[in-house]
């Protein structure tokens, strides 16, 4: 497997509009400050990235940001969806992240037990 194989994806994109565009219905932002990283934020981000790949969630974008400001609740994840209030999750880990993907992102029901109160 080498990088040239990316061209196959590009060739298919000529025919498949969905491959070319990526409308983000949902944006997932993982806080990645020093204390977040020390408490596992990278693994949380990896889980979201992996699930997007596995489940082919073409309308979900995941990115990172800096310190979120609540060191005792890190790793923190914000889920933005147009027309809905942002949901902020605290003390996340890979297992909880998978549950958020299934219940909130795919099925539209935020996991309230992981959410923290809006500031």
């Amino acid at each position: 497997m080498n990088l040239e194989e990316l061209k196959k994806i590009r060739e298919r994109a000529q025919k498949d509009v969905e491959l070319r565009q990526k409308q983000a219905r949902i944006r997932v932002v993982v806080g990645m400050g020093t204390s977040g990283i020390a408490s596992g934020a990278r693994e949380v981000l990896k889980t979201f990235v992996e699930e997007i790949g596995r489940r082919n969630l073409t309308d979900v974008v995941v990115t990172q940001t800096g310190e979120k400001g609540l060191a005792s609740r890190e790793p923190m994840v914000e889920v933005f969806e147009e027309g809905k209030p942002v949901v902020i999750y605290g003390t996340m880990d890979p297992e909880k992240s998978k549950r958020v993907v299934v219940e909130h992102i795919v099925n539209g029901k935020p996991v309230s037990e992981y959410a923290i109160e809006a500031m």
């Binding site: 497997m1 994806i9 981000l45 082919n56 990172q64």
Partner: protein, 176 residues
């Protein structure tokens, strides 16, 4: 201390991203003819003047409002020096910043390299507007990933498209 060198990489790169870097290079090199492990992270972000460059090495300084500590750089510096290595930070306003940390690979306090694959994957895919050049070199191989090249090969397909994520994940598993 961070558990892994890879965590330090995530942390320092987070600074580069905050500094609005568009191009970030990360080089990890395990020297062939000695115990040295080199970590070199360079960005083209806003950079800092000499005074700021000194301040960021102080654990009680932070650029974040309302924070009393900024530990990322001091932690890396501490790890490097504890293991008998060295730390340097070079920066110029408007040009960018380069951080270089060396470690004595034989030292008992050196954290493991850690999960480089995941680190590279999440950085490349989680920051699609930024170009990363990753280089890992040890005595048996050299691995290079240039996300600008990846995006070029992809044409207009975004680097964070699920198919590309799956591809990159497998590619990293196979080659790194």
């Amino acid at each position: 201390m961070m558990d892994e060198i890879a965590s330090h990489i995530m942390d320092i790169v987070a600074n580069s991203l905050t500094a609005q870097a568009k191009n970030i290079s990360v080089v990890i090199e395990k020297c062939v003819d000695g115990p040295l492990l080199i970590l070199d992270i360079k960005d083209d972000g806003v950079g800092m003047d000499n005074e700021m460059a000194m301040k960021v090495q102080d654990p009680f300084f932070s650029t974040k409002t309302g924070r009393k500590v900024g530990l990322g750089i001091p932690l890396l510096k501490g790890t490097a020096e504890t293991t008998g290595g060295a730390f340097s930070l070079v920066s110029e306003p408007g040009r960018g910043t380069q951080i270089r940390a060396t470690f004595n690979a034989g030292h008992p306090d050196l954290p493991p390299l850690g999960n480089l694959k995941d680190t590279i994957l999440v950085l490349a895919v989680g920051n699609p507007e930024v170009n990363f050049l990753f280089r890992y070199k040890n005595s048996v191989k050299e691995f290079i990933l240039d996300t600008a090249e990846v995006k070029d090969l992809l044409g207009g397909v975004p680097i964070n498209h699920p198919e590309v994520i799956s591809f990159l994940s497998k590619y990293l598993d196979e080659h790194l």
